[in-house]
C-alpha cells in the first residue's frame, strides 16, 4: 500500500469512526430522552415560583401572614410569597373591584363570606376541593365551626379556607365599669342604663361611655344587623320579601338612637379601626358591638389593653345574641397564575401545625382546637368569647347582592342616626331599596 493509499485508508477509517460515534450519540440520545423527561419534570417542579398574596393590612391580617410566610418559605423553598396589603377600611371595595374585574395580579387573597356567592356564581374564584385531600377536608370540617365554615362554601364546593374567624362582640373597660358600679348589660334593653351610669363616671376625665363603628354603609349596616338579628329579625322571609320595616327594625333603630347621646363624637363616621383607637386610647368605655380584633386585649398594642374585657354582645330580650359572622378565608382568583403554589400556601396557613405561630403573630384562628389551646390563650385571652360568639353568630345573607344590600342598609341606618330622616322613613326606604335589589337579582318575584 502506497503512502497515498495509506492516507486514503486512514481517512476512510477516521470518517467511519466519526460516523459510528455520531450514530451512537444520536441513538443514545433518542433512547435516553424518554428516560430524561421525569428529570425535566422534576426540574420544572423545583423551579422557583413567586405567588402574590393580597390581604388587609395590620394585626390579624397582613401582620399574621407576614409572621408565617418565612416558615412557609422554609418548608417550600421553591415558592416565594410576595404580599400586598391594603388598610381594612379600603380593602373590601378595592378587592371586590379587582377580583370582580378578573385581575390576574394575585394568586390568592383573603375575603369575608359576603363575597363568596357573588364570586363563586360569577366564576371569579376557583373551587378548592381538588387541591385538598380527603383527610385534609375531614380535618377542616372537624375543627372549624360548621356554621362558620359553611359561609365559605357554595353549591357544595369549598371556595374559601379560613385561617381567621370573626364575629362582632363587646369590648368594655373593666376599671370604668367597676368605678361606675355597673355590670355588663345582659340585654339590649339594659344598655342605655349602663351607659348613662358610665357617662357620669367618665365625665371627670372626658371618657365617653359608648363607642361604635357607625360609618354610613357596611359598618352601620353590620351594627344594625347584629341588634336586629339578636331580637329575632331577618332581612327577608322565605319568599325574599323584605322584613326589616317592622317592630323589630323599629326597636333596633330606637336602641341605636338612644345610645347616640353617650357616643364619642367620632362614632358616627367611624370604621372598626377608629373604634379600636377610641377604646384602646381610653376615649370610650364600652363598645357593645365591635368587629373582633386581637389589638384591644393586648397591652403591648393598646394603652388600656390590660383593662379591656370582652363578652358576647347583649341578648335581644330573651333571645341569645346573634352577632354577624365575619372572618376571612383564603381564596384563589380564576386569573391566578400559580394556583398550585397558592393552594400549598393555603394548606400550610390553615393547618393545625401552624396555628400557634399564627396566633403568636396576632392571628385570630378559625380552628376550635387553636381557640382552646392554653398556649394560645396567653396571646388571645378573648378566644373563649370568640368561640362562643362563633357558635351563636348569624351568617351573612347568601346571595350575590349581599354586600350591596349591607351597604344600602347602612346608608339608611346612618340617615336615621343623624336624624336626616325619621325611623319610620328610614325603614320604609330600606324596604324599598331591598325590594328593588331583590327583584333585580331575580330573587323576589
Amino acid at each position: 500500500m502506497s503512502f497515498e493509499d495509506e492516507d486514503r485508508h486512514e481517512a476512510f477509517l477516521h470518517s467511519r469512526r466519526e460516523f459510528l460515534r455520531k450514530s451512537l450519540a444520536v441513538a443514545s440520545a433518542t433512547t435516553a430522552l424518554p428516560l430524561l423527561s421525569p428529570l425535566r419534570a422534576a426540574a420544572a417542579a423545583t423551579q422557583r415560583v413567586t405567588i402574590t398574596l393580597w390581604s388587609p393590612a395590620g394585626q390579624r391580617f397582613g401582620k399574621a401572614n407576614a409572621g408565617i410566610i418565612p416558615l412557609f418559605e422554609r418548608a417550600h423553598p421553591n415558592i416565594k410569597v410576595n404580599t400586598v396589603t391594603t388598610s381594612i377600611g379600603e380593602y373590601f371595595p378595592k378587592m371586590a373591584t379587582e377580583i370582580g374585574g378578573g385581575s390576574t395580579t394575585y394568586d390568592l387573597f383573603q375575603a369575608i363570606p359576603t363575597f363568596v356567592v357573588a364570586f363563586a356564581s360569577g366564576r371569579k374564584i376557583v373551587p378548592l376541593d381538588d387541591y385538598l385531600t380527603a383527610q385534609e377536608k375531614a380535618d377542616l370540617d372537624a375543627d372549624i365551626p360548621k356554621k362558620y365554615y359553611d359561609t365559605f362554601k357554595f353549591e357544595g364546593k369549598i371556595y374559601g379556607v379560613p385561617n381567621d374567624s370573626n364575629t362582632q362582640w363587646s369590648f368594655y373597660r373593666k376599671d370604668l365599669f367597676r368605678q361606675a358600679g355597673v355590670q355588663l348589660p345582659k340585654a339590649w334593653d339594659d344598655v342605655e342604663g349602663v351607659v348613662k351610669a358610665l357617662q357620669k363616671t367618665g365625665q371627670k376625665d372626658g371618657t365617653f361611655a359608648y363607642t361604635a363603628s357607625l360609618r354610613r354603609g357596611e359598618y352601620a349596616g353590620a351594627h344594625f344587623s347584629t341588634i336586629f338579628w339578636s331580637h329575632g329579625g331577618e332581612w327577608w322571609d322565605a319568599g325574599f320579601r323584605p322584613t326589616i320595616n317592622n317592630d323589630i327594625g323599629k326597636k333596633t333603630l330606637e336602641i341605636m338612637l338612644s345610645l347616640m347621646p353617650y357616643a364619642d363624637p367620632g362614632s358616627i363616621n367611624a370604621t372598626e379601626d377608629d373604634t379600636i383607637n377610641a377604646m384602646g386610647s381610653g376615649t370610650a368605655a364600652y363598645a357593645p358591638v365591635l368587629w373582633g380584633n386581637s389589638v384591644l386585649t393586648n397591652p403591648s398594642l393598646a394603652k388600656r389593653g390590660a383593662q379591656i374585657g370582652t363578652s358576647v354582645p347583649p341578648r335581644g330580650g330573651s333571645r341569645l345574641a346573634s352577632p354577624m359572622l365575619g372572618g376571612l378565608a383564603y381564596m384563589i382568583p380564576v386569573g391566578a397564575k400559580n394556583k398550585d403554589a397558592a393552594a400549598r400556601y393555603i394548606k400550610f396557613a390553615t393547618s393545625r401545625q401552624i396555628m400557634r405561630a399564627w396566633v403568636k403573630n396576632t392571628g385570630q384562628p378559625a380552628r376550635v382546637s387553636a381557640l382552646r389551646d392554653p398556649e394560645n390563650l396567653k396571646t388571645g385571652p378573648y378566644f373563649p368569647t370568640l368561640a362562643q360568639a362563633l357558635q351563636q353568630g348569624h351568617p351573612q345573607v347568601r346571595i350575590a347582592e349581599s354586600f350591596q344590600l349591607l351597604d344600602a342598609l347602612g346608608n339608611q341606618v346612618a340617615r336615621a342616626l343623624t336624624k336626616e330622616v325619621t325611623v319610620a322613613q328610614a325603614l320604609q326606604d330600606i324596604d324599598a331599596t331591598f325590594t328593588e335589589t331583590l327583584k333585580k337579582g331575580g330573587h323576589l318575584k
Binding site: 371595595p93 370582580g100 354603609g217 354586600f403 340617615r415
Partner: protein, 294 residues
C-alpha cells in the same frame, strides 16, 4: 386635469399634523365617553359579571332617586360656597400682594404651598385637625374659652368643614391667577384714576374687577369644574357622612360603582355628572367669550 406639486394629497397635509393629537383624544376622551354611555344602558353587577340591556332604565331610576337628587343639590351648594369663598379670599390676597414690600417673594411662595400638597394628604391633615378630642382646632377654641365643635361628626358642620379644607388648598390657585391678571393691568391706568381722585374702592370695583372679569370667569370655570368633581377630600375626611351630609354627586358615583358594584348605574351617574359639568362650562364660556366668535 392640472394638479399642484402635491396633487390632491396636499389637502390631507393638515390632517396628518392633526392626526396624532386626534388619535390621543379619541383614545382618552372619545372612547371612554362612548364606553360610559354604552355601559349606562346595561344592568351590570361587577361581582357576578352579568350584563343585561335595560335601555334608559338606569337614567330613569337615577332621576327618581332622592339620594342622588339631594347629592346634586348638595354639590351645587358646596360648589357655590367654596368657589365664592376662594374667589373673595384669592382676590383679597392678590390685591395685598400686588405691591412691593420686603419678603414678598418668600411669602408668595409660602402662600402657594397648600396647592402643592396632594389632596389626600390635605384630607388626612385636616381630618386629624378636626378630631374632637385631640384635634388642634378644638384645642385652639379651648384656649380662647370656646366650646369644641364636632367638626366632621355633626351633620350641620361636616360639609362646611370639608369646604374649609378645600378653600385652604385652592385659594392660592385663585390668588396666583388673579395676581397675574392684576399685574397685567397697565400701571398708567391706575395712576390716571388716582390722579382723577378715585378712591381705593372705586379703583378696585370700577376698574380692576371689570378689567379682570375674563380672568375671574376663567378661574371660576376651573374651580367650578374641580368642585363638582370633588372626590378625594370627601373620601379621606368624611366618606360622605355623617349620614348623607357630605354625600356629593361624585362620591355617590363612587359608592354606586365601587361599594355596590352597579357598573351600569355608576356609568349613568358619571355621564349625568359629565353632562352637568359640560353645560356649566358651556354657559360660562359663553359669558367669557361674549361678543367674540367661538
Amino acid at each position: 386635469m392640472a394638479r399642484g406639486p402635491g396633487g390632491n394629497w396636499d389637502r390631507f397635509v393638515p390632517f396628518q399634523f392633526l392626526a396624532p393629537g386626534l388619535l390621543v383624544l379619541i383614545a382618552i376622551v372619545v372612547y371612554p365617553t362612548i364606553a360610559i354611555i354604552q355601559n349606562s344602558l346595561y344592568d351590570w353587577n361587577l361581582l357576578v359579571g352579568n350584563r343585561r340591556f335595560v335601555g334608559v332604565q338606569n337614567y330613569a331610576s337615577l332621576l327618581a332617586d332622592q339620594i342622588f337628587l339631594k347629592s346634586l343639590v348638595r354639590t351645587s351648594i358646596y360648589t357655590a360656597g367654596v368657589v365664592s369663598a376662594e374667589l373673595v379670599l384669592g382676590f383679597a390676597l392678590a390685591l395685598l400682594f400686588n405691591r412691593s414690600f420686603p419678603g414678598l417673594n418668600v411669602l408668595r411662595t409660602l402662600l402657594i404651598a397648600p396647592m402643592l400638597v396632594a389632596p389626600v394628604m390635605v384630607g388626612l391633615t385636616w381630618r386629624f385637625m378636626y378630631e374632637p378630642s385631640i384635634g388642634v382646632l378644638n384645642y385652639l377654641l379651648s384656649v380662647i374659652h370656646l366650646p369644641g365643635l364636632r367638626w366632621i361628626s355633626d351633620t350641620a358642620t361636616a360639609l362646611p368643614s370639608v369646604g374649609l379644607a378645600d378653600v385652604w388648598q385652592w385659594t392660592p390657585f385663585v390668588f396666583l391667577i388673579l395676581l397675574a391678571g392684576l399685574q397685567s393691568i397697565p400701571e398708567s391706568i391706575v395712576e390716571a384714576a388716582v390722579m382723577d381722585g378715585a378712591g381705593a374702592r372705586r379703583i378696585i370695583f370700577e376698574m380692576q374687577v371689570p378689567l379682570l372679569s375674563r380672568v375671574i370667569l376663567i378661574v371660576v370655570l376651573l374651580r367650578v369644574i374641580d368642585s363638582v368633581k370633588l372626590f378625594d377630600l370627601i373620601y379621606v375626611v368624611t366618606r360622605g357622612g355623617p349620614g348623607n351630609s357630605t354625600y356629593l354627586a361624585s362620591f355617590y358615583n363612587y359608592v354606586v360603582g365601587f361599594t355596590q358594584f352597579q357598573m351600569g348605574r355608576a356609568s349613568a351617574t358619571a355621564f349625568l355628572i359629565m353632562l352637568m359639568i359640560s353645560v356649566l362650562t358651556m354657559l360660562l364660556l359663553r359669558v367669557i367669550l361674549r361678543g367674540e366668535r367661538l
